[in-house]
Symmetry: D2
């Protein structure tokens, strides 16, 4: 292997230490520096590794010609400025989810990376878990047939975030996973969002997203900060088989059910009739063994490979943008629903669906 690439982690808060540890342990990477405005925090993190500098000025990282890439783990509202500066300085960039705080900012980052010929990668960590990689592989191989529906639930007693609602906090996980496993990425025909704020927290603490897909399929996401039980389940219904991913069942995370409904078309009096001829398959269930690997380790490897091979990473800026656009459409849908006065016949409901631009 060629010599290791050198990376700086920007932001030593909640997520930065995880990135730092995985870059440090990766044969592909050398962890050159930790950068945080809070010098003490940068130092405390850098001290855990040998040969890693602590800096409190972003410019110190960007001006260092030996640094190949930066990994940004700062609040979303700062992503655009930092990534732009880094790309301008010729660094490859990895950005924690969501890619940016708006589609506008995200698109500007993606265009700049394109123009500079640099890698801009979204840190959609879940996509590098063994379960999600296996799901993508199965769908790609046609094991499920055509995707008919995806139902994702991610609920738990959760920290009410000061700056974002539950959709922006949790749904990026579901959306980035759906984008990753669907052959053409996540391209909903429209976005309809429902939210509730029963505690008066000033933002939705419960959120539902409905995303009609091509060919009559649908994806639905339920995220919730107020549930006393933790559920993280995704059901992916296909025309051939259906897959259930239960992320909280370490003994059987992924199950593939060879069950389903078959419709046969029948011409009756010159008209196609389908529903009349339903048959059910009740076949075996199968649960693939998953190779244990820390997802951030796989992501670090993919970041390095995409840089070396001059290609887009698996979770590229495009995937980050598609997630962002759904989130923005969801916010518009929520705002429209809330806008008109709620009359008894609720005309608001009619304006509801948040059509994607």
């Amino acid at each position: 292997m060629s010599s290791a690439l050198r990376v700086a982690v920007i932001g030593a808060g909640y997520w930065g230490p995880n990135l730092a540890r995985n870059f440090h342990n990766s044969a592909d990477w050398e962890l050159a520096a930790i950068c945080d405005l809070d010098a003490g925090r940068a130092e405390a993190l850098a001290r855990r590794f040998t040969g890693t500098a602590a800096v409190s000025e972003l410019s110190a990282v960007l001006e260092d010609p030996d640094i190949d890439a930066v990994a940004i783990a700062t609040p979303a509202r700062t992503h655009h400025a930092i990534a732009t500066a880094a790309l301008t300085a010729g660094k490859h960039v990895l950005v924690e989810k969501p890619l940016a705080d708006s589609g506008l900012h995200g698109r500007s980052m993606a265009e700049m990376a394109e123009r500079c010929g640099l890698v801009l990668m979204a840190d959609h960590t879940y996509c590098y878990t063994p379960a999600v990689m296996k799901i993508r592989e199965l769908i790609e191989a046609g094991e499920l047939g055509d995707i008919l529906f995806i139902d994702s639930v991610r609920i738990n007693l959760g920290l009410i975030q000061p700056d974002v609602d539950v959709l922006w906090d949790l749904a990026p996980h579901d959306l980035s996973i759906i984008d990753f496993i669907l052959p053409g990425g996540l391209r909903p025909l429209s976005v309809s969002a429902q939210g509730a704020d029963p505690l008066g927290a000033g933002k939705a603490c419960i959120g539902y997203l409905t995303l009609p897909l091509a060919n009559g399929a649908v994806a639905h996401v339920h995220v919730n900060w107020l549930s006393p039980t933790k559920i993280r389940t995704m059901i992916i219904g296909g025309s051939k088989r259906t897959l259930v991913w239960d992320d909280l069942n370490p003994q059987q995370r992924v199950s593939v059910y060879d069950r389903g409904v078959d419709l046969q078309t029948q011409r009756v009096g010159g008209v196609d009739r389908r529903a009349a001829m339903v048959s059910y398959r009740l076949g075996d269930t199968w649960s693939p063994a998953l190779v244990e690997r820390e997802p951030l380790d796989a992501m670090a490897a993919e970041f390095a490979a995409s840089i070396r091979e001059g290609r887009a990473p698996r979770t590229d800026a495009g995937s980050g943008l598609r997630v962002l656009e759904v989130l923005e459409a969801a916010s518009r849908s929520l705002a429209e629903a809330a806008a008109p006065p709620r009359g008894p016949e609720d005309p608001a409901a009619r304006a509801l669906v948040g059509e994607l631009a």
Copy 2:
């Protein structure tokens, strides 16, 4: 006890036998007759009991002065005509869910019962399960505090019905339960429905309902005929405690979690701020013992009691109407969303998956 009331069961198909058996076993009732247009079917069912007549003409039942009540277990489109005839003949009426095939029909039935001073009861069977009766009791006693959200999931590989979509087939269960347990009944501010028909069955096989409630609360229902795994779960989040009902876990159907999020209002610079002051309760979980009783037996007893006491039954015509109105609003919501011509993606839809030529 006064002497038993006499009932005739109309319809000897899928549900009629269950009603017949429970009326037969009830001390409150004498099962006088089984009525079905198919005389053979009526006879086969009546033969299981002693002293029960089999008739194939509704008039034979309605003209019998010794019959106090009829229980209607025929297709929904026939409910209005049969119930109207029965009420006109002075019989009390129990109707299988849904109350009628339209709100118009339902309201006409309710008004006639009112006018005649007769009991019109909706057979919302789930409301008479020990679990739902306990949930109602706990909410009534204030154990959960104010209801913040209800999330109901009822999915399984299911028979695609010839005449109704998945919302009309399955959601009456969820809606009648929610109507039963909410102190003022189910009175959503609006109804938003999403459906999907990825198999091209001609009707929604997957359905989502979002029902904003007063005070920022929300109820959401997910029904699905295409899921390989069976889930029947309702989460009821309250300001004091949260309840989870898992109907498929006979060892612990109902769990009450003394967990949740508390927000404190704080005045900062003349402005109320809440989210900043969040605290979490992580208390005990408690699962009440449930007395085993067949729900239809409890329902038969309630039907008799309401007749004898001249009062509305627990699941009265009003509850049937509220369920019907949500279903109708859901159908309107689906129709509106589907209204615009789909354009270029339609032909694609025809090439669908699952097509078994």
Copy 3:
């Protein structure tokens, strides 16, 4: 098919009605009579079927030349006398588990059936469940490799039986299943039993059975009347794969794990060493679809087939005897362990917990 065989069910208590219903529904059988000393009970059961006589005298059944077989569902202590009379009268015999109340009685019944050329079948109902039939089929096909261990747990809050301990009440299920699935039947090298009677009920309410098998394998059974949670699980470890049967998980009763430990023998300094070379397989899990069929229906079919084909049934007298012999050995093992006078701790035992004076 040749004309149906005619059977009489002896005993109309707890189990008899289940046998009667299944014989009645079987195309192989005609349910000729119900026999019970309590004439009213016999009549009540016979009335549910058309063409079934009710009799209170066993001789009426045995002297009827048109009756081919009897199914005995009376208390175990009566099995020997009734079966002997029936065989003498030339009837084929099915006996509810356990085959008899002692090995001596069981052997005498088996010998008489042999001598008379009649079928004597043990009603080991569990062996005819789809799960157990699939397990037997998988083991027979070599899917699990050699059987290394079987661990069976059958615990629940249970009725304390007046006449038998928990081993005689519940373990016949486990033992008959193990006998059915092991290629050569259940032939333990020894039987070691442990029991406990912590409530002072006068018999073991908790029981453990350890059954060393050939080649170092072992079977272990845990039965318990005092457990607040219901568990019915059997783990069958094989040299190639391991199977887990969870009878209370209708969605996935049988799971086959392609996981295990492989030992390689290595010659080190002229000595075989094995443990040093361990490797682990962590392969897929697979859960076969099971065809739904009521086990008693399959059993009735097997009883008819064995009579018609003049062959031993799948659960023949030999299997009933092997189960009986393990139960008898278990009772001896319990008695030996309890033999020495308990001395000073006995008075303590009387002061026990649970004593409600």
Copy 4:
């Protein structure tokens, strides 16, 4: 608080780093040194902390007058020599489980600690988990009533250890927990062990322990290295309530069932009869909230407190000895069962309990 105590961790292999990290993080302790014969390993571990020395000679630790205590995390066969030297040098001693490789060694260590007036503590880590501390507290408060039975299962695909069998490897966990929660500690009336080595690994890979307790109660332990599914469950049946601890269910580890069997004594003809009068309680289930705390942190605190207060720690040498004695008795029980040479017909089996006819 008085100034921190100073501790050296002996052994930097598998368990030492966990001890080191917890002592380092504890306000009660200063992590003075890491000692390992392998100097490189000692250094690698010491480097993770500030102010912690790395030494490769035990004497360097024992001769340091500023060191108050040592924590021994070396193989069991070395515990006696190291602990004896440490006690002689006036150090308090914590020993990883099991306390020693024999009861003889364990007793000698306990006597020396007693003589020297020093603390000798067994590192029974599980006893310091929130679940086990809660169980002990509930039993102590009489919530379960008298203990009737304990059934412990600890099975998983496990590393076949080179030097010990599965009983010595895994059962110390179960035994130390049982010792901790039973009011008078674990004092079985006898010890019966069954083992199996179906792979020919040269030692038991599957083990069962039956421990009759006073008053007819019983404890049973199942440990297994060959199970494809991981189970860690303990059922503790009491005369008032029964507790189930499922260590793999983080959402509900401890459940208390208010269910059970009540026997009433009835005098019939001058004789006490009990079983005839059985009644069942089917009350609520309750699951206490457990405070999250790393068990080794609680253990480090208890070690410090016992030293400062000059008292025995909760898991003192006596508890370590009781566990050792059961393990030794179990090995004797296994050896007796296996004693005679295993011929083809296995005469050994005949010496066993429960001889088959």
